[in-house]
Amino acid sequence: MVDILEVIRSSGGARITELMRDANMPYDRLMKYLRELEDKGLIVKRGNVYHLTAKGVKFLEEFDRIKKFFDAFGIEI
């Protein structure tokens, strides 16, 4: 799910086909995760494009910080 958020962040908004290609995920699983992310308020769909919400941006910043901290210990998240 974090992969999906990162793809949306790096491209400033992404369509389903771009997400399937860049997050390397089959359609069914991708749709399931997108629904979950929308329910959690981390992404929002405008037309055919998914965007990060403010909550999603904050979530990714927190994730990045935790990831970098544990990188220092050699632990990959």
Partner: protein, 211 residues
């Protein structure tokens, strides 16, 4: 010169708070990734936090309630024994967590810690202290491997932090062997410096580091 042991209070409580923060973030990371090594890491640091804070709380209660000297000594001795057992458990968990880190990085199975030959005449405190020292040596070695692989500044700082905690443990053992309160207080200070480095990494270094 008599050294009051309650001088270690702020260092124990401070170290405990930082250890708890690390455990909390490890738990968050475990929830993101589901990696078992992160869960072990988290529990290890939370147990370590409990050890430091527990010792601090007991010392504070003795200070506040001012029981007889004999009772104070008995309470302190038992509290130290319990806290050092907790430390042992914590370092075991953190070492096991590093085993899986090394296994991923080096690609071979890293063996379990070999038992040391411990003379029977040593007291329980000293025995556990020696085992903690061996575990910390393994943790420092593992972190050195991590740093050599990544060459990141934050990894080097973690190495310094664990080396500081190891040095604190060595001083602790020295204090137990020679019964010198001053060296014991120094051991808590050195250990606390290690945790301060981890706090620095958490709030200063990693937000600035590039992914």
């Amino acid at each position: 010169m008599r050294i009051p042991l309650y001088l270690t209070l702020p260092f124990d409580i401070g170290s405990g708070i930082v250890a708890f923060l690390v455990g909390y973030y490890a738990l968050k990371a475990y929830r993101f990734s589901g990696r078992f090594s992160l869960l072990l890491f988290s529990i290890g640091f939370i147990v370590l936090a409990s050890s430091f804070v527990g010792r601090g709380v007991v010392l504070s209660s003795v200070l506040v309630s001012r029981p007889t000297i004999a009772l104070a000594k008995l309470i302190a001795a038992n509290a130290f024994l319990v806290s050092i057992i907790f430390e042992l458990l914590a370092y075991v968990l953190i070492s096991v967590s590093y085993c899986s880190v090394l296994k991923e990085k080096v690609g071979t199975k890293v063996g379990t810690i070999a038992p040391t030959a411990i003379p029977l005449v040593l007291s329980v405190n000293i025995v556990i202290c020696v085992v903690n020292l061996m575990l910390l040596l393994f943790i420092v070695f593992s972190q050195a491997m991590v740093y050599l692989g990544s060459k990141k500044r934050s990894s080097l700082l973690v190495l310094f932090a664990f080396t500081s905690i190891l040095t604190g443990q060595l001083l602790h053992l020295t204090a137990l062997l020679f019964l010198t309160p001053l060296i014991y207080v120094m051991s808590r200070v050195v250990c606390f410096i290690g945790f301060l480095i981890i706090l620095y990494i958490l709030y200063v270094v990693t937000p600035r580091e590039k992914a």
